[in-house]
Symmetry: C2
Subunit: 168 residues, 2 copies
């Protein structure tokens, strides 16, 4: 048995911190190859997919949303006005700092807490368990992986260990 804090919080923080690593490697690659940062920041895998900046915004939104909703707190609102790698790092740091304010007691019993999210004006109701396992987790990994894939597709030398993060 694991409690909801153990299941939700450390993996979210790991994913975000790995995302920061991925962005840092992307930025260094851009600098080394004299590629304008905006090229990577606005890169996408297909014209109607989101660019790198938006992938980071959604990954952080999903993470702060999960931590807040499972703890029964208001989700902090961010401006979505990032235009640089530094801005993205600040957003990730702000998200991790928020998650760090949550303690295990606040997530106690959250597996059965009712969570409602609004997606394109439709209310979706979940139990905390389903919200974490069927929504927040897959979404966070999706957007971190897509950020990785956008940079990888543009020649940045990333490897799976950058995505997985340190083992300890």
């Amino acid at each position: 048995m694991l409690n909801m804090y153990e299941i939700a919080i450390p993996p979210l923080k790991r994913a975000l911190s790995n995302l920061a690593t991925i962005l840092k490697i992307g930025e260094e690659h851009a600098d080394a190859k004299k590629i304008e940062h905006a090229v990577f920041l606005n890169a996408r895998l297909f014209p109607d997919m989101y660019p790198l900046i938006r992938q980071v915004q959604i990954a952080t939104d999903m993470s702060k949303g999960a931590a807040a909703r499972l703890a029964g707190l208001e989700v902090p609102k961010f401006e979505d006005n990032e235009t640089s790698f530094a801005d993205l790092h600040a957003r990730i740091a702000k998200t991790i700092a928020f998650i760090d304010t949550i303690n295990p007691a606040q997530l106690e019993g959250s597996e059965s807490r009712e969570v409602t999210i609004t997606v394109r004006k439709v209310d979706l109701k979940f139990t905390g368990q389903d919200y974490l396992l069927k929504w927040a987790n897959p979404n966070v990994y999706f957007h971190v992986t897509t950020a990785y894939n956008i940079l990888r597709h543009n020649g940045v030398e990333l490897g799976k260990p950058d995505f997985l993060g340190p083992r300890t």
Copy 2:
């Protein structure tokens, strides 16, 4: 509190079944546009990234590995000889069928079971909890997302709901 079965097994099965949906949409798109299946099956996002077939092989390997190791069972070996969408669907179905043989009692206490995996000849030791949350889960989502991104990058009309799967 959730038990290890609840945390591990239904999400793995969901990810695999969503991967099957993603492949099916890719195959239908190829047929509609008269694109040879091999073009999609061998597509990759960068020359030294794995192609679609290998993404599916790894996603299923990670899934059967997680279910088997957490249950203390031998990991079933598959041949890695898939060459068609039908082969990939058969592999996914075989993986889900194996996972379905596992029952909650077999995963009881697996959060503290020692799990050793060998990656490029190096033994990595985890607790069951770390193995699931730091290794198996992110890896499965990584490879399912990358399969999605490969097809999406090639113009297949996939949307996030295909990746997330039905809510119930």
